[in-house]
Structures are given as C-alpha cells and as structure tokens.
C-alpha cells in the first residue's frame, strides 16, 4: 500500500510526555486562583449562613457584595477561561468520548504508523492533539466545536444518540491544510503540485493517500 510505504519512511522516535516548559504556567496559575477563589467563596458562604445575624449592617453588606457579586463574577470569568483551555486537552476529550480510548492508545503507541501516532511521536502536534486536528479552522471554528461538544454531551447523558456513532461531517482537507498549506512538502512535491486544486476543493482527500488516521481504520 502506497500510503504505508510513505509513512514508514518517517524516522521513528519514542513518544515524549509533555515537558515541564510545555505546561502553560499562566493556565496553571489561573486554575489555582479559580480553585482558591471558589474555596474562599464556600467558606464565606458557610460563615454568612451561621453568623449573618450577628454581623453589623455595614460589615454584612460589604461581605455580601464581595461574596455574592464580585467573587462569583471573578470565578465565572476565570472558571470559563480555564475550563475552555482545559477542554482542548486530550484527557478532556477522552472524559466523554469513551469509545475513542483506543484511538488515544494507538496515538501514544510507539510502534503505530497511523497519522495520529506520527503526529504525536514526531511532535508535529505537541499538545492538544485531538483539538488540533478536529476543530474547523476559521473565526468560528472553536465556537462550532464547543457547540457541537455541548450537543454531544446532552445526547450522551440523555442516551439520545444513535448507533453506529459517526463523525458529524466527513473529515475535510481544510483541517490538514490549516498547518500543511504552503509547506515545502506540500507545494514542493510534484504529486501535490499536480493535485493541489483537487486537494483544496476536497475532491481528493488527504486521508486517502496518507491514512489511516486512527487504529480502527487499519486494514479497512
């Protein structure tokens, strides 16, 4: 198979765990801040439940403004920023997409030759691998992905999904081209140069030559 020989030409390296410098310190700090703020909010709420009648009028009102207005607004903002960033992590995707556990295991398999594994192993996509390839590029790509995620969440927990579980839409070349477009390997190759109009229009799918993307597609 042409695609297999093409893939085996890549140099194999061992998978690499996220390096300390790849963990976003701002995100970690914000997460700690949100967690601490929520904890302070809980303690303060319990304190007010017990002691609100014993507090002076002005003290109580000042505490109430802090506890019920300022702190919640801060926590909502921080919680959503942190949550949306965390939602890009592979672990987050796996927490709902349980059936895709095998895809993730394959991606992290040092001997796998699937596209996902090669991107992971060679660090072409060093972090947030699911998110990097499965959100449409463009202004509303992230928003669309989140909206779809919420829809899937409700379908999953209400049991209203149907078997077999499929992708919402076929995988489009735009997902590949958002990184590979104009790279020397794409525009410098005579095969690609000839087929570029068909690749861009989606007439010729990247995955047809460079697949399989995930383990389940091997041998299909």
């Amino acid at each position: 198979m042409a695609s297999t020989s093409l893939l085996s030409s890549f140099v194999l390296v061992q998978p690499v765990a996220p390096l300390p410098q790849e963990v976003d310190p701002v995100l970690v700090w914000l997460q700690h801040l949100s967690f601490s703020s929520a904890l302070v909010g809980i303690v303060l709420a319990l304190f007010l439940i017990v002691a609100q009648r014993r507090l002076g009028d002005n003290v109580l009102k000042t505490l109430c403004i802090g506890e019920f207005v300022l702190l919640p607004l801060f926590v909502i903002a921080m919680g959503n920023i942190v949550g949306l960033e965390q939602a890009k992590k592979v672990e987050f995707c796996r927490s709902c997409h349980l059936t895709m556990g095998s895809f993730i295991r394959d991606m992290q398999d040092p001997n796998s030759q699937t596209l996902a594994a090669l991107h992971y192993r060679n660090r072409w996509s060093p972090e947030d691998q699911c998110y990097a390839c499965h959100t449409s590029y463009g202004l509303f790509g992230d928003v669309k992905a989140k909206m779809k995620g919420i829809e899937d969440f409700f379908k999953y927990y209400t049991g209203t999904y149907e078997h077999p579980v499929r992708m919402h839409t076929p995988y489009v070349n735009a997902e590949c081209l958002k990184c590979h477009e104009r790279t020397p390997k794409l525009v410098g190759s005579e095969y690609h140069a000839e087929a570029l109009p068909q690749i861009r229009s989606g007439e010729l799918r990247c995955i047809d030559c460079h697949g399989p993307a995930h383990a389940e597609q091997v041998g299909q």
Binding site: A38, G41, L60, C64, F68, V69, G79, A87, F92, C96
Partner: protein
C-alpha cells in the same frame, strides 16, 4: 410620597438572602468540582448550572441591596400586615421606626423560654425606636400584628436626621425609649 407595600424584612433576615447563599454555595461547589478535575461532565455542569446560579444570586443580592437602601432612606412607607404576622423579631437588626395607622400590635419578649406580652399598641402609637437609643441597633423585643395592620415605616437614615434636626423629637423618642426599656427589664 407614600408607597403601598407589604411588610418587608430587613436585609440581614431576608429570606432571599438565604436563597442567594444556597445558590452561591451550589455554584461555588460546581466551580470547585470543575477546577479540581476538568472533565466534560464537570465543565458542562459548571457552565450550564454553576454560572447561571452564580449570576442569578449576584442579581438577587444587588436587588436586595438596592431595596434595602431604598427602605433605609424611605420617608413613611405604608406597610400592610395580616393579623398574627410578625413585624420584627427580638434581636433582629433594626432599620425602621413604625407608626401605627390602623390596627393593633403586641410587643412580646421571651424570658427563659416564656413569652411575655409587654404592651399592646394601637393607632397613633409608635414602636421600633428603642433599637436606636438603648440597644445598639438590635430589636429588644418582638412585635406582631394582633389585627389587620397598617404601619407608616420611617427609614433609619431619615429617623436619625429627624431626631438630630428636632430636639423636641429627640426628647420624645429617647424618653419613650428609656421608659420602655425600664418596663422591659425583668
């Protein structure tokens, strides 16, 4: 200007404040859960339930604070109570002085678990002033309506202005407060 309104509880004893506390507590617990371990479920609960609860609570508290501010500065709100309804309870924080327009009230105090009726007041009488003269902002006794009741409620801030501006009013209210305080002592 007169505002016809049902009787309202002071800020610290408002039932709505309890509602806010429950809403906020739930919202913060969902936030904590989401920040502790962000999964699809925990984050969806935070965004779909935690965030609206926290926002609702914030809006409620702002409304309560504005309402409280209005009451503190109100000039004779007309408050209406049904017979048997409590106007305020002993040890509640005080924010108004009341003048009875129609109906009657009972002033009651609890000593060692027993309720004692200290006074019965009717149209033209006033009550609620003691908190500002002898008890540091707390109600010294409970007052409940013994018949359908209409009260004129004077906000705390305007009451303070009145007694500072009019020495005669100060004398009237403070003398009455001291006199009632002596009667209440066991």
């Amino acid at each position: 200007m007169r505002i016809h309104s049902p009787g309202k509880k002071p800020f610290a004893v408002s039932r709505w404040l309890r509602v806010c506390q429950v809403l906020t507590l739930t919202g913060f617990l969902l936030t904590l859960n989401s920040m502790w371990h962000t999964t699809g479920l925990s984050f969806a609960l935070f965004t779909a339930a935690g965030t609206p609860l926290l926002l609702l609570s914030a809006i409620l508290v702002v409304v309560l604070l504005i309402d409280d501010l209005r009451k503190r500065h109100s000039l004779f709100d007309l408050e209406v109570y049904a017979a048997g309804e409590m106007i305020f309870a002993q040890d509640d924080p005080a924010d108004r002085v009341y003048i009875i327009q129609q109906g009657h009230v009972e002033v009651v105090r609890t000593f060692e678990g027993k309720e004692i009726v200290l006074a019965r007041l009717g149209p033209g009488d006033y009550f609620g002033e003691m908190a500002f003269f002898v008890s540091d902002g707390r109600r010294t006794a409970s007052v409940r309506a013994s018949s359908p009741l209409e009260l004129l409620a004077l906000g705390k801030e305007n009451f303070a202005r009145l007694v500072h501006a009019l020495p005669a009013a100060y004398k009237e209210f403070s003398t009455k407060a001291l006199q009632r305080s002596k009667q209440q002592d066991p």
